[in-house]
Symmetry: C2
Subunit: 552 residues, 2 copies
């Protein structure tokens, strides 16, 4: 067979020809959209690629981006890797010191940033990012006043490029992109994605029984493009020729909802909290929203609650689906689709199945390993460390000593604890560091959270481990009430219907909001930190609502 | 990223776990079926693999099969490549001398055959197939009396193997299978398929906007498993966990129809003639058939006529789809799905689009090259040689001098002549050797055939080039009438509605059947050969119906 490498530009070659008239649409304001075709897109990608070469960017160089989800950012997704350089998407929500660490660790040579990020990047320059030798600012009109230097306008660069630039052919294992984990302990760890990994992952996601990403879809990418290649969704949309909708600068819940209605969006993906916030927005809104076009809502980062699945299904006929992934896996590991032989079961059983992390996607091998290092059976109850192996799983962290802790014997130790059921659906019980070990028995914080979030008077809930003199660790629940009548006793009794007595949290603290990480997951480390400073009282002082007053 | 190779056994690993309860069903008699699960299948595959190793089969050895579509043959699909050996599927419909050539050229070390093939293989032994050192016979009960030696019962071998055998990991470019072209000129040419190519092709076919192969499908594989990996359909079904239905030994049209009704088959694939014969069977049957479960019928080998597309759609709601492929491409090159922006056009225009060969599948690059070697525009009218390039396209023929004629500059010259429209749909005009060049202008035999086959009184039609004193070549039509009232003048007038006068065939010969190749394509070479022996008279003598009498 021909030695044709799996390169991102091979996908682009096909899409710009076959789906030349399909659109990429970016929200630019309330009810306002920028729209152009994949043919226009590909020309600008080629211009960008050739301009970067002229600009002195070399194969292997890291090009950083600090940007929202919009068409220019998407141009860098194919333009930068197209010349063999590495797209380093930087998390916009990190503190400047963390961003500085990332840029210096990756040794980014150029930064491509959004206009509203100029003040942040000026701060980064003061902190010291010596590898960066130029700044390219995306946006319309002239570049705003800035101390950044040398500074260039992104569109000027694109205009100076050549739209008939031909991409070079190189080894498919060449680095295409990199992303750092949103590690809540220690410095973030860098993961380098190869062209091969990204092409294979996009192919898997484009398969039946996955995302439902076909050519006719109009797909809204809510998940940030700075995080794990935007879950590889933009690549999958391009591969399939689907209409890609990007929410632009500073989108709010209202913007997602309005965009879906305006553009008849058929599918979207984002953090679980997005699905919750959109629901709350729609509920509180003083007008009806027609979101009937929305067939699929993929919620990730953590498992969506039964309540949120049911609300979307009952209100708009939207099928809420989940997967399971992480930065180290490009990112998808599992995707939850219901096997036809299981779909015939009762509604409750099917919903219980949909609450699981899903089955491994093709090419992905998984196992659960016990304390003695032996593989555990796929019985749905044997809980152990969750290990994975695939052509799109990281072999190492980028120049990082911590590789040897996580990559062992050709497998990646995810750091999650879980079980696998007899049909290969994974059940993630906890991050191993979030496990609660009470009196020698362990308690799943995720199981308790899911149960709490299914309570009609609960808006958000998280359960963390706190130290205990006798049992060593005990669960503590932080709950955002949705109704002011909610009481601690009510929750305790409710949980007792499904859990053993010793699983029930000792305290239920009513808070205004659960602290979240930069990618929208519950920040249990922060809650444990606050607790360490002063127990329940400190939590209530910092994030408490005092009484169970509903949050507007 | 991890260096995890794309191996067939990686697909099996997942399917036997995730889709363990899904079925592989083989027709064994009228209304009788053998059925077992993918879990059973995988155990037998592992047994077969380990038994072959014990039997002395080594990595790289060619293992030949001469067999129908059934579960045992499918076991060899993963069992043989699983140990790094090469599955050589031999065309059952070739003459013994051709089969002998294939076996000797491939140097098959073992032959795995169906029981009904024993007389043929005994003949092959007499002709001389010295590389074969053992014969393994599939079937039930004891091996029938035979001169083959040493001879083994397939099921005994499987029983002696180990069901917990672990497949080795090796380079993804390792040969997995091989197949010879059904070349109508000269000796067949061998194509060797790598694991990588077959995994990638299965992933492409499993994508949305392709075959419609999802887990819930019940797929009937009519295309022979000896030809081009059965179009890679069995691999795709396994990858997706779909129910795979195999028509077993000596299936007839009636068997396909009954199997679809019995098992509520949802999709099938086979040669265009299968779709025609099934229609004719249903029409002539004295009872109603409920084929309403059949959503998708993929007809290949050549383009299905508009008439056959419409009949299935109107009668059973079955969507007839076509692709375009060849042995050298694992085999798919294009697949015809209608882009949403084109689906809005009128019914006639959409049917015209469905008559085209389709768009290139992912990872496949295509071009049309003019006489001067330059690439022609994708305008739907510029006709030239059709070239392709992909990771599942052959780089060479197996130990064959003719490689240098077909593989040039990293591209494969398909030998087809065609155009590409502005949306990337290919329009195959002819095999270059079937082109009719009349008075310096070329005539597409395929365009004429398609038009003729859309005539309600025509059952089959083919158009070939015959020598002509003045114009050098002229078209000749061989037509199988469906109605005895059909006349030559009627066809001539009908064609004049759509074609220039000089395109109209000089003769329309009514025949009982169009001769076909071993894979069901119209055998134009044979018709040209008969014509060379005695012109129209010889054709009418050999295959003519005399008057336009309908064929029962």
């Amino acid at each position: 067979m021909m030695d044709q490498p799996l390169l991102l530009n091979t996908l682009l070659w096909r899409t710009e020809r076959l789906f030349h008239d399909k659109k990429i649409v970016t929200r630019t304001g309330p009810g306002e959209y920028h729209s152009y075709t994949y043919a226009d897109y590909a020309k600008r990608v080629r211009r960008l690629a050739s301009a970067l070469l002229d600009f002195g960017v070399k194969p292997g160089d890291r090009v950083g981006t600090i940007a929202w989800n919009h068409y220019r950012h998407f141009e860098t997704y194919f333009g930068v890797p197209g010349i063999g350089a590495v797209l380093h998407t930087i998390n916009m929500r990190l503190f400047p010191e963390q961003q500085q660490y990332l840029i210096n660790h990756a040794q980014d040579s150029v930064l491509i940033i959004d206009e509203d990020q100029i003040p942040v990047v000026e701060q980064l320059v003061e902190l010291g990012i010596p590898s960066v030798r130029a700044f390219i600012v995306m946006g319309d009109g002239p570049v705003p006043e800035t101390t950044l230097s040398p500074v260039h306008r992104y569109d000027d660069l694109v205009a100076a490029g050549h739209e008939d630039y031909e991409f070079p052919v190189f080894d498919e294992n060449t680095a295409a992109a990199m992303c750092y984990t949103s590690a809540t302990t220690g410095d973030p760890k860098g993961v380098v994605y190869s062209h091969r990994a990204m092409v294979l992952q996009a192919m898997c996601l484009a398969m039946h029984d996955k995302l439902n990403m076909s050519e006719r879809q109009v797909w809204l990418e809510v998940a940030p493009m700075f995080h794990c290649n935007g879950w590889n969704i933009p690549h999958t949309a391009l591969l399939q020729g689907a209409t890609l909708v990007l929410p632009g600068i500073h989108p709010l819940d209202a913007d997602y909802v309005r965009t879906i209605e305006d553009l008849r969006v058929t599918g979207m993906n984002g953090a679980v909290t997005i699905g919750t916030m959109m629901r709350d927005f729609v509920r509180a809104s003083d007008r009806e929203w027609d979101l009937s076009s929305l067939e699929t809502m993929w919620l990730g980062g953590q498992a969506p609650s039964l309540a949120i699945m049911q609300w979307w299904e009952q209100t708009y006929g939207t099928y809420v689906v989940q997967g399971y992934g992480m930065t180290e896996c490009t990112p998808q590991i599992c995707f939850n689709s219901i096997k036809s032989t299981l779909a015939e079961r009762g509604e409750d059983e099917v919903y219980a199945l949909r609450q699981k992390g899903g089955q491994p996607i093709p090419l992905m091998k998984i196992k659960v390993v016990g304390e003695d290092g032996a593989e555990l059976p796929w019985d749905g109850t044997s809980v152990g460390d969750f290990w994975v192996q695939s052509p799109f799983t990281a072999r190492e962290y980028f120049e990082d000593e911590r590789t040897k802790e996580s990559m062992v014997g050709g497998w990646f130790r995810t750091g999650d604890v879980g079980a696998i059921d007899p049909d290969g659906y994974v059940i993630i019980k906890d991050r191993s560091k979030d496990l609660i070990k009470s009196g020698g028995e362990w308690i799943s914080s995720i199981d308790l959270e899911n149960a709490l979030m299914a309570h009609p008077k609960v808006r958000e809930a998280t359960v963390v481990s706190v130290p205990h003199e006798k049992w060593l660790e005990r669960p503590l629940a932080c709950v955002v009430p949705a109704d002011e009548s909610l009481t601690e006793d009510e929750l305790r009794e409710y949980l007792l219907q499904g859990f053993a007595k010793w699983w029930i949290p000792d305290s239920f603290l009513f808070v205004t909001e659960v602290p979240k990480t930069s990618v929208g997951k519950y920040n249990k480390k922060e809650i444990r930190g606050i607790y360490a400073q002063g127990g329940n009282a400190e939590i209530l002082r910092r994030i408490g609502v005092g009484s169970a007053k509903p949050v507007a």
